[in-house]
């Protein structure tokens, strides 16, 4: 066991998968000697060499498009897209090819790749370095979309993603890259994609969240003094509806918290599914606490945009009092 940050846990997962499987390789901008702009790939270039940790040209579509070819040939590429806001240029390759290769070839070709992307706001970064586009990819059939909220989860989920036979977008909440440490086992372990984690149990209300927002939710729960169950989805697609359903049927009340804009956000999908599965158990309308339907503001105002413990707290009060 070591006390690791989320960055260190991801680094450890990459090292262990690369040690274990020589099909695993890394490519992206600045991932080589520089170790990535967030130092996630620190030391890997030295350890595994330039053929397996590749500084690519500055081209996101190129990074993902070549990764698709590498994966079709049987390798396990782990490309890094440097920031959430730069995923856009790669969208065509992701949705037009990676996501649909298995189905359009009826299994003759598959694309086992893991796209690592730092995601979300809260670190005073420049424009297009703070977005939360997870729902775009959750809405693209053929992908799996993962977002851990802790070092322990990050390691187990990344190993699962690399070993997954289908394309996975692995979003890393950059706000908590180094925000706290956690005991992370040295040994490799896998956390199944598609399984949520119950962060804390409760009886009065359910909160469903993922990524860095989970930390805000924990603070809000502590302040509220109520018995609240917090579910960290961990995987946005396919998401663990069983965990949500079981909890909401128990509590009858639900708040969904995410950093991405509200309209068409993944919270809307969860709320609709709660209506389908739990309608007769609901004591209050499901409420969402989300980013606003605006452009993510520059960093002076980013904390006004992002759901914080106070906004989550107001939702808890409203839903509990309904």
């Amino acid at each position: 066991m070591a006390n690791l940050t989320l960055v260190q846990a991801i680094n450890l997962a990459l090292v262990q998968e690369m040690e274990k499987d020589d099909r695993v390789m890394i490519l992206g901008e600045d991932v080589g000697p520089n170790g990535g702009v967030f130092r996630v790939t620190e030391g890997l270039h030295k350890r595994f060499g330039a053929a397996r940790v590749v500084d690519s040209p500055l081209a996101e579509s190129g990074i993902i498009g070549t990764s698709i070819g590498l994966a079709m040939a049987g390798l396990r590429p782990v490309p890094e897209i440097q920031f959430d806001g730069f995923l856009g240029p790669a969208y065509d390759q992701i949705c037009s090819h990676a996501a649909r290769m298995r189905t359009r070839t009826r299994g003759a070709f598959t694309v086992p790749l893991t796209i690592r992307v730092p995601v979300g706001g809260g670190i005073h970064a420049p424009e297009l370095h703070s977005d939360s586009p997870e729902n775009i990819y959750a809405h693209t059939p053929g992908l799996k979309v993962v977002m851990p909220s802790s070092p322990y989860d990050a390691k187990g989920l990344l190993i699962a993603a690399i070993r997954d036979p289908d394309p996975v977008i692995f979003f890393e909440p950059k706000r908590i890259y180094r925000a706290f440490r956690e005991e992370v086992p040295e040994d490799e372990y896998v956390l199944p994609i598609g399984k949520a984690r119950t962060v804390c149990e409760g009886t009065e209300l359910t909160i469903v969240s993922w990524g860095a927002s989970v930390v805000q939710c924990m603070q809000a729960i502590e302040k509220s003094g109520k018995s609240i169950e917090l579910i960290d989805l961990r995987t946005i697609y396919p998401f663990d509806m069983d965990a949500v359903e079981t909890s909401v049927k128990k509590t009858g009340r639900c708040v969904i918290v995410h950093e991405a804009p509200r309209t068409g956000g993944f919270g809307a999908e969860i709320a609709a599914r709660i209506m389908e599965k739990c309608f007769l158990h609901l004591e209050a309308p499901v409420q969402r606490v989300a980013g606003f339907d605006t452009i993510m503001p520059y960093y002076k105002l980013e904390l006004d945009y992002m759901p914080d413990a106070a906004r989550v707290g107001r939702a808890i009060d409203d839903v509990a009092a309904y």
């Binding site: 190129g62 498009g65 070549t66 390798l75 189905t103 009826r106 070709f109 389908e276």
Partner: protein, 371 residues
Amino acid sequence: MPLKTVFSTEIQHLSILNEHGKFDAKLGKDVIPDKDLIMLYEHMSVCRQLDEVAFKLQRSGRMGTYPQNMGQEATSLGAAYALEKTDWLVPCYRENCGLFYRGLPMEYILLHWMGDERGNAIPRELYMTPLAIPIGTQMLHATGLAWASKYRGEKQIACTFFGDGATSEGDFHEAANFAANLDIPVIFFCQNNFWAISVPGKIQCSAPTIAQRGIAYGMDCFQCDGNDIFAVVKTVRDAAKYVRDKSRPVFIEAVTYRLGDHTTADDARRYRDQAEVDMWKQRDPLIRVRQFLKEKKLWNDSKEAAMKERAEKAVTAAVERAENITPPNRNDFFDYMYAELPDELREQRDTMQTHSLGQDPAQIAQPVDSH
């Protein structure tokens, strides 16, 4: 000297058997043995026959939209013939002839355009990727496939096919840039057929050749007569040797012409002159090979008639196989989404015939009694 030339270059155009049937014996020496030339001519003829039949199938409602290959047969065929059988062919969607030569059964192409994904389930041992519909994106896959070969220390290379229009796409630039800067063994094979649907080549590229686009990446670049099977074979063969030995990409522009419409949904008379089409019909890759074979006494009208009959039979059989395939299973579009079907998709699949979408039956309201 304050002002000096730091770089200059030239693009060479290769022609061996020209449109008038003139054969350059020196350049054409040992490029294609006679017996292979006959075989290649048959391949082009069968492909042309499929094109004609496919057109009729579409017009009679037996097949969806189809892009004819007519006029461009020599480009992909020459490339496939010049490459090793384990080199990746990474096509766009007008490379039937090369794919059939490599061994793709014709019904796969028919099935694709008949709206059946089983046409893309290409056997692994053929080393070809399925048709790519968005323009230019497959060049990056070819670069990745060739990169994987290099990563494993193998000698396999990739050859990706695309048109003049595709060189306007950003992915062309990204693929060329990756391949050149990371020393990836891939051939970029541009089939310049002068038209991207209705948009003429000059709107895609205002330089004198498309081939020179590759120079900016530090690639060796070649142009050849794409309607001359000899020129295509020699260009690709020489390029492949270099690519394989040096682990460097090359760019080839094969100058050809789309004799048909873009697809069966298009009417090229709306935007191009018949005189231009007529001129290119004189440069048809099949005509000049046939004349060449006849002059060498390797071909005659009775052989042509016998071959026509074989071609018709082969195409008819392929159409029968495509049309008589078992109907697709509606579960398939769920079952191939992921290696393991997520619960949510399993539920959608299992209830697609009996439910709306996912409503828990226990919660569906009972009709209110209206007495």
